[in-house]
Symmetry: C2
Subunit: 254 residues, 2 copies
């Protein structure tokens, strides 16, 4: 389950570390999914009695494991010794976007740390969903789960290889598709001034290394850049996403 194929086959993934396990149990407690089992080393049980208690209260079996076994389940160099086996969190594209006002679409974002950080930002900004479109990283990847600091359990995540299907679904529910594109003519200030950010919006973000392909940008409703006031060439993916998503969140609330 430390590999995508294994996760997809099992329909399960591993949430590792005290924080992720806490969020997984809350997610299961809210009826959003199921935690099947909790593996914990003796040290981890000592250190996190509240997790063991919460798991037991939720009817989740807690299985003691050796440090070596915990390390083999871990993708980090310093395993915390506590791992929850969870149902996959992703949901189908159909239905999830209804009544959505703010959505983040990650197009071909391959870096799990970046993707997880954007999930965290989207959660904080009150987005209704995050869609992993095209050839993107699996949100259940251990690094992505970790970078999201629990946010993978907070808002609906969709995996859809067919990016055109994602864009069509957004349009059908009235979401304006806006490319976050450093090469765009208009910046956020211009878009805000025109009242464009007031509208229900699906922001489309490309990978940090390659950005969005030109033909993808051309097929969307608009392209907007974050204004650069200094000498920096660009922002990184997560900070650009933070500025864009919060600009929409503010416009939607004012």
């Amino acid at each position: 389950m430390t590999r995508r194929a294994g996760r997809d086959k099992a329909g399960r993934f591993l949430a590792e570390g005290a924080q992720a396990v806490r969020e997984a149990l809350a997610w299961a407690g809210a009826g959003r999914g199921r935690v099947h089992e909790l593996y914990a080393t003796a040290v981890a049980v000592d250190r996190n009695p509240e997790l063991v208690q919460a798991a037991s209260a939720a009817g989740v079996r807690v299985s003691p494991v050796t440090d070596a076994a915990a390390a083999s389940l871990s993708e980090t160099v310093t395993p915390q010794g506590v791992v929850a086996v969870c149902d996959l969190v992703d949901v189908p594209l159909e239905g999830v976007l209804e009544r959505a006002r703010l959505v983040a679409v990650l197009y071909g974002v391959a870096d799990p740390g970046n993707a997880g950080t954007v999930v965290r930002v989207a959660d904080a900004a009150g987005a209704d969903a995050v869609v992993f479109a095209g050839d993107a990283v699996d949100p259940h990847n251990g690094k992505c789960v970790r970078a999201s600091t629990g946010s993978v359990f907070h808002l609906p995540l969709v995996r859809e290889r067919d990016a055109d299907a994602v864009f069509s679904a957004c349009r059908e529910v009235g979401l304006r598709l806006v490319a976050a594109d450093g090469y765009a003519t208009d910046d956020l200030v211009v878009a805000e001034g025109r009242g464009e950010l007031d509208r229900p919006t699906a922001w489309v973000f490309g990978s940090e290394a390659h950005g969005l392909p030109d033909d993808v940008v051309a097929g969307l409703d608009a392209a907007v850049k974050v204004p650069i006031y200094g000498e920096a060439e660009s922002l990184n993916l997560a900070t650009a996403a933070a500025v864009c998503l919060y600009a929409s969140a503010r416009a939607h609330r004012s």
Copy 2:
């Protein structure tokens, strides 16, 4: 020079990789500092003829090195084979804040990747300076330089262990000291509504792990949080800084 003490003693640091070297040469070309020497492997010379040309045009000696020597100068696992020996970029606190309207103060931020990303964000948002205050990472750290993607060469950076001296200097030039603090009562929207973001501002950011100590927050002029609209507990340092600095940049320009 891969260690702080060595860099401080030599008064020099290493800018590694094609992008950092390009920015270092532009920085030197603008008379902001000096590049003493460029080390490049044969492969790197082949791959980056424009860098070698720019160095020669600027009177910077280009010394061929073996892959092994380049690797020993490198802090990355995949060295690019090109390293510039540069004067330290930091400037004294005195004078640098005059006429400043937007400053980022990193208080005790120890993680070089986070610090470098904030330097990049501050540069993009048009900040006048970044101050590394208290027990913070050295901005010349290789990871910090890399994460800044050249921005360490773009705007004045100050290193000052005495955080109170930093806060006094900010106040003297009329900068309002605002703690970015997830536990603050007021959020950015409230501060913006009151017109507080229109004022010249020094944002004070704490470390990702510990935030700002209570006594530091208590000594500043205000504390403001980024509003959290979803279930996330917080934002990470770089994304929080992006939202705060861009909120000020927008307020200063509207």
